[in-house]
């Protein structure tokens, strides 16, 4: 049944007005600007611009560096999501089953949510720094030639590690609450029906966590796409070369540092569509979840 509602002339508009106003000025307008700019080409001084149609888009899609960046971003997002989800799930399952110290573990595992990505980035950067990083020394001592300032794959390793580290807490919180949300009677019925703990997990617990997992999948993808900006900006800055450039970092570099507004706007628009596609994906799962 539909939610019971008031029917009053102006008052709903007054309640909604502040939010809508802010959105119009700081969301709709800039988004429109981005689309508009993406069809323009500015001269080097930003004095003249002309309408060039899809030229900016064509340039972007024929730029091998952009395609590399896109592929890297997707792989990066998949890797970060996979590892942070797996580790968090492992920890949440343990934390849900221990009796002694459950509360303390919870606190000790959730606090990292509150760390700003650049703070995590700087710490990670220094841990692996060739100047003082013990981990730098440790890895090199084991015979591997490691330097994340010079070697692309080492740089990727470092930012993935930091990004995973930073994201474990939030995934842990959601998984734990998902596990605690599974009703006792279901758990008990499963214990009667299935003697193996591991099998029980994969056949009962994990499917019941599916809604949480799907939700986290999207949260984590968004995180890997955007929130890792802060990590990358204080560790590798997309380098060495362009080996750790993500799409958002490239938008920032081209638009803000490179002042190529047309291309950067077109990149923003592409990114918007990408995110939109991801969200549509999420909504379909949420719908599924409602009918669970």
């Amino acid at each position: 049944m539909q939610k019971a509602q008031f029917h009053q002339g102006v008052s709903p508009y007054l309640f909604v007005a502040p939010q809508v106003l802010i959105i119009l000025v700081f969301f709709i307008w800039p988004a429109g600007q981005a689309i508009y700019q993406s069809f323009l080409l500015e001269d080097a001084f930003g004095l003249h611009s002309e309408f060039v149609g899809f030229l900016n888009y064509r340039d972007i899609f024929s730029d091998p560096e952009y395609l590399d960046t896109a592929v890297f971003t997707l792989l990066f997002a998949a890797t970060v999501t996979f590892f942070s989800l797996t580790i968090a799930l492992l920890l949440a399952v343990q934390a849900n089953s221990v009796i002694r110290g459950a509360g303390s573990y919870k606190t000790l595992l959730m606090w990292a949510y509150a760390i700003a990505p650049p703070a995590a980035g700087l710490m990670g950067n220094l841990m692996f720094s060739p100047l003082i990083g013990d981990f730098y020394a440790l890895i090199n001592a084991s015979g591997i030639d490691f330097n994340h300032h010079q070697n692309g794959s080492d740089a990727i390793f470092v930012i993935v590690l930091i990004a995973v580290w930073k994201q474990i807490s939030i995934n842990f919180i959601f998984f734990l609450s998902g596990l605690q949300g599974i009703s006792n009677s279901v758990t008990e019925a499963a214990r009667i029906d299935c003697p193996s703990t591991i099998k029980r997990f994969w056949t009962i617990t994990f499917p019941l966590l599916a809604p949480t997992t799907f939700f986290l999948l999207v949260i984590n993808t968004t995180y890997a796409f955007f929130d890792t900006f802060g990590i990358i900006d204080v560790t590798t800055r997309g380098g060495p070369g362009a080996s750790t450039n993500t799409l958002i970092y490239k938008v920032y570099k081209d638009g803000f540092l490179g002042a190529d507004l047309g291309s950067s706007s077109a990149q923003s628009v592409i990114l918007m569509f990408l995110v939109l596609a991801l969200t549509v994906f999420q909504f379909r799962f949420i719908e599924k979840k409602v009918h669970y």
């Binding site: 939610k3 509602q5 309640f15 959105i23 800039p30 343990q94 509150a114 710490m123 638009g255």
Partner: protein, 299 residues
């Protein structure tokens, strides 16, 4: 299994106990490893911030407290030249302003909007709903450059308004409140209508007190989100007086990566600690509320 238990009762019982013990050990072992993994970096940062830059440069990261902590932190709060252009005190205040301003603004604006959307039937409700919730799909980051231009055109660069208000444009808070309001039973509104309570009275007398926990939870989450903003303040603030701690970290990184003098690693670590401590404390202290608010949003 049961037959085994009957045949050798003592043997199997102790066998089961050994298994239980092993499992317990494994569970705690995994958890402790997880905790160590998360805590080590912050511990190392905290410890290293109490050593002189020379010590750090010569013998690397520090795992135990040193005796240079007071000097390190004092330097962060006093200098306005050298490694940092702004004193940590000003940066912390700016972060506090951003966190609080963002949280307060967000709670008020999104609660009002959610109330309007959930409890009223009006002609423009559906289009307004879509305008508001379209912002959920597109984070500020994807439209960062045009947003910067808009704020610049409005003359809001280097101002708290320019820093805070565009961030509020996302509807996350509205979404939280909408979900929460929808979970409140309809009969409550119906009872209130029979009790002669109009929209404003229902909001003040019933909804506001009922939402106290939710408001607190969203406030905490938003404070942390606001405090941790990075890209937006980075673009918005060219005047060092408006730097937040989190932006300050970047400055620290920049100075260090430029080489030259002996890098002040202790200051870098100390600033990281300063940027991290307030939001972590808030989250840990209000843990229960925070988790409730966070998890509620999923539903």
């Amino acid at each position: 299994m049961p037959t085994l238990a009957i045949n050798t009762p003592t043997g199997s019982r102790s066998g089961v106990q050994v298994m239980k013990l092993l499992r317990l050990l494994m569970q705690h072992g995994i958890l402790i490893l997880g905790v160590l993994f998360l805590i080590t970096p912050i511990w190392v940062a905290l410890m290293s911030s109490t050593h002189t830059p020379e010590t750090l440069f010569q013998s690397g990261l520090q795992f135990l407290p040193g005796d240079y902590g007071r000097e390190t932190y004092a330097e962060l709060f006093t200098i306005s030249s050298g490694q940092l252009s702004t004193s940590a005190a000003i940066m912390l205040l700016n972060s506090l302003a951003l966190g609080l301003g963002f949280a307060i603004g967000k709670v008020i604006i999104s609660m009002l909007a959610a109330y309007g959307l959930v409890y009223f039937r009006f002609p423009l409700a559906t289009p307004l709903f879509w305008i508001i919730f379209s912002t959920l799909l597109l984070p500020l980051e994807v439209r960062i450059i045009p947003s910067y231009k808009v704020v610049a055109d409005l003359g809001l660069l280097n101002s708290y308004t320019g820093l805070i208000v565009p961030l509020i444009a996302s509807a996350t808070g509205t979404f939280f409140f909408r979900q929460y309001f929808r979970s409140i039973p309809d009969e409550l509104l119906e009872a209130a209508r029979i009790d002669n309570a109009g929209p404003l009275r229902f909001f003040i007398d019933i909804l506001l007190p009922l939402s106290r926990t939710m408001i607190a939870a969203i406030f905490i989450i938003m404070f942390v989100v606001g405090w941790n903003q990075y890209l937006w303040p980075l673009l918005m603030t060219t005047d060092p007086d408006y730097y937040t701690v989190v932006v300050g970290i970047r400055q620290m990184f920049q100075v260090m990566s430029q080489g030259g003098d002996l890098p002040q690693f202790n200051l870098a670590f100390a600033l990281t600690i300063l940027a991290t401590l307030p939001p972590v404390l808030v989250v840990v202290i209000f843990q229960r509320m925070f988790i409730k608010g966070l998890v509620e949003s999923e539903k």
